[in-house]
Subunit: 335 residues, 2 copies
């Protein structure tokens, strides 16, 4: 764990704080060196590839600034574990880079570290290192997650072939609805549904058990973070294929179905909304039938990979549905 | 490379931008998968440990918001390479997490990517992956750097022993003076000195060649980012030793000597200022004599590791100098 320079202010000493709050999160892994150093030393595992992924999150953009700190930490870890799962990788550990607002309180930091520690323990992972700095801006976090796959067996976005079946885990659209639920924008929905959806937004369930099971079965995989349609578009583009999604097959949770039936959301919103953190994958016919039959997690075939390019979403009559937006595209600059 | 969700605005499409600007920075390394995916796959190198370090930087805290974007990118990489060098590690690659302000211009991004690309090429490294998001706050960057050392041979902060010689590379105090130079706060200094010091602040020279040479010679090592006295304090604390620094031995650059002679800075400021990115290491008597004699980079013995605890800095008469501050301690929160 490292700490960069910057003006001192206030009363809590960061070095003590890190020692107290974050060092236990190494969970005794010798690679972390107890966070006494500013680097981790990971022994080679011959026959395995190390998988590396990083995700950044900003308060007010990727989570609500007043979200509970433990949930922010847990979501940060989980979105990265979702990336690893999409590669077929088993997680190994994480490094945290955190820019904390200067007015953050010790209680907030304690809750943040406790949440991170809770999920590291739940997924049996060490914190391997990190860096904490102060920022005059919003809380800004990034986490680098490490995983491993047998050499050459990692799943990628490329690799989908025409004729492949297109599958998703879990249910689609809950994340985007959940953001609205968390913001109190779904007053007509029952409280239990609001709570379910908000939880789906705040605390994704990374498919860590499913990911490794897809190795040797799926030809291409990714996790759905920016919306089904947009992410499928990425997968198709790098695979050099197109996809046809049957809208009626896309699995929706009961609360999402009720929101849709109540006119609170459009199907396009659900298909293009972000933050689902389910796995999307393409597999040759029959390759995942046994996995799907096992039903844990639920897997649903939503369409087919086709020759060509682009994603089309069709209704039960085969008519292409207009999508009002292609999922979030969040970073655009002025010309 | 990954991109998270957030509201779309403006005219530059991030996905095209990333493809255009960052994909070439992979420099053809297959581990990066051309940034088509959101993860890198690094083959195992049996017999080597992977060294991982992460550093975060925030505009207005770790660099000036109007610093040239290419220099910001290069400093971000270099401070991490400095960490790897301190471990005795050879660098392998980097992952970038960047939160760009929404009003960043394409020209700024191009210059940033060009600077990063320039230094990746200079150090012969690939960009392995990353994540770019938008922020309503200041530019916030973190970079995870990967290196490798022969198994078990990595250098750490712990490992200094009483009687060890204490050494530093290069010159000390230029970074802190350089910040003042860059801010125009050294008007009495000659323009060439101001330029030298500002460059030392903006563009550290990580000791990538020296680091691996210290393996098997130094018992403990770290890079000086928070100030010599404070960083030496860390090294002593985790090693369970103390240190005695002879102030007159501490190497100062000619511009720093002139600033000191002109009363523009105190010796305490130089010994406690941050951003030097030189290596500090403890080694048994004679162990680095040949390296030091080679003189590239310059190595200077500044003192001795002693039994006990704490860092004392003494003048030529052996009198302990009072230090007005123990180096930057940047992150403190209100109680």
């Amino acid at each position: 764990m490292d700490q960069d320079n910057g003006p001192a202010a206030g009363a809590v000493d960061e070095f003590s704080l890190i020692a107290d709050l974050f060092a236990p999160l190494t969970r005794g892994d010798p690679a972390a060196r107890g966070l006494c150093d500013d680097a981790a030393f990971l022994p080679a595992r011959p026959g395995w590839d190390t998988v590396l992924t990083v995700d950044a999150m900003v308060a007010g953009v990727h989570f609500l600034a007043d979200d509970p700190p433990d949930l922010i930490a847990r979501k940060l870890l989980r979105v990265n574990l979702s990336d690893l799962a999409a590669k077929g990788a088993a997680p190994v550990g994480a490094l945290l880079a955190a820019a904390f607002p200067r007015d953050v309180t010790p209680d907030w930091l304690r809750a943040f570290a406790a949440g991170l520690g809770r999920d590291l323990a739940a997924f049996d992972l060490p914190l391997l290192g990190g860096d904490t700095v102060a920022t005059p801006g919003p809380l800004t976090l990034s986490l680098t997650a490490l995983g491993r796959v047998p050499a050459g067996q990692g799943l990628e976005r490329r690799g989908a072939r025409p004729g492949d079946e297109l599958w998703v885990s879990g249910s689609i659209g809950d994340g985007a609805l959940g953001l609205r639920a968390a913001r109190g924008q779904l007053p007509a929905l029952a409280a239990a549904d609001v709570a379910f959806l908000a939880d789906r937004y705040r605390l994704p369930q990374p498919r860590v058990a499913l990911g490794p099971l897809l190795r040797g079965r799926a030809g291409a995989a990714m996790d759905i973070s920016d919306g089904l349609v947009q992410d499928l578009g990425h997968l198709c583009r790098v695979s050099g294929v197109g996809a046809r999604v049957e809208a009626a097959r896309v699995p929706l949770s009961p609360p999402a179905r009720r929101a849709l039936a109540g006119g609170m959301v459009t199907l396009a919103d659900l298909l293009c909304g972000g933050d689902d953190y389910e796995l999307l994958f393409a597999a040759p016919a029959g390759a995942v039938a046994a996995l799907a039959a096992a039903g844990d997690p639920p897997l649903t075939r939503i369409g087919t990979i086709v020759a060509g390019a682009g994603v089309s979403v069709v209704d039960q009559q085969g008519v292409t549905l207009p999508l009002t937006r292609g999922g979030w595209r969040h970073f655009r600059a002025a010309p």
